[in-house]
């Protein structure tokens, strides 16, 4: 498996979020703090979902919040947030909802760096054991150890 190297500040463990919008803002927080993205980017991620539905669910229990590079990316970046309590997304089409515990917030500058990041994320979530392992962590330290 290709390793994702992530500094600790980009790996967060949270008990819960108020709702999916809150979850996206939390997952974007480290990227915002490091000025890799602007607040516009955060709002674009939320608006896109409102318009298009929760297309960011890329695997069972895994969400990939992202918007387009021109919507406010300063620098390429990636953050991983695990919520102990599931975050729910409404699905207007079918009337039911789906849930996610793992939020991988993505900020890409161009298509090449974007593909590289997607490949890394892909290798991370391909293995469902890894998803379970991340989901079952009980603290930020435990989560950090997975990526150490």
């Amino acid at each position: 498996m290709e390793e994702i190297k992530l500094d600790k500040q980009f790996i967060q463990w949270e008990k819960q979020a108020d709702n999916w919008m809150d979850a996206i803002r939390i997952s974007a927080r480290p990227l915002l703090q490091e000025k890799k993205i602007t607040t516009d980017y955060v709002e674009a991620m939320i608006t896109n979902i409102k318009e298009l539905g929760p297309y960011i669910l890329i695997a069972p229990l895994v969400a990939l919040p992202h918007a387009r590079p021109e919507q406010g990316v300063n620098e390429i970046g990636l953050s991983v947030t695990v919520f102990q309590e599931p975050v729910f997304f409404d699905k207007p089409e079918t009337g039911d909802s789906s849930e996610a515990n793992i939020f991988i917030c993505l900020a890409a500058k161009d298509s090449e760096s974007h593909l590289d990041l997607l490949k890394k994320i892909s290798s991370l979530i391909e293995n469902e054991e890894m998803i379970t392992k991340m989901r079952n962590t009980q603290s930020e330290e435990e989560l950090h150890q997975i990526f150490a």
């Binding site: 539905g53 297309y55 960011i56 669910l57 890329i58 695997a59 990939l64 387009r68 993505l106 979530i125």
Partner: protein
């Protein structure tokens, strides 16, 4: 054959799905082209098979292309199964 990977913006999960499908095709030795696109343009693109999430699958069903829903965009197993199913159905 032509496979279309579809997501909301044609930029995130559809690209991930395209990468997975490309690997599957290569391993299986199938002659196919995979394109990633957003839901808005998906219906105007000619394709044999559309791979997408559950929600968009129900929106795109009933068109000219066969549609298969994928839960894990990174799972080669799941994408391989969808392509196998499609090939079986079309070769009947």
């Amino acid at each position: 054959m032509k496979i279309l990977a579809v997501c909301g913006m044609g930029f995130g999960s559809s690209l991930m799905l395209k990468m997975t499908a490309d690997r599957v095709i290569q391993k299986k030795g199938i002659q196919a082209e995979v394109e990633a696109t957003d839901i808005g343009t998906a219906e105007s693109v000619q394709a044999d098979l559309i791979l997408t999430n559950n929600e968009f699958a129900s929106q795109l069903e009933g068109g000219r292309s066969a549609v298969k829903a994928i839960m894990n965009m990174a799972s080669e197993d799941e994408v391989a199964k969808a392509i196998d199913e499609f090939l079986e159905e079309t070769n009947k």
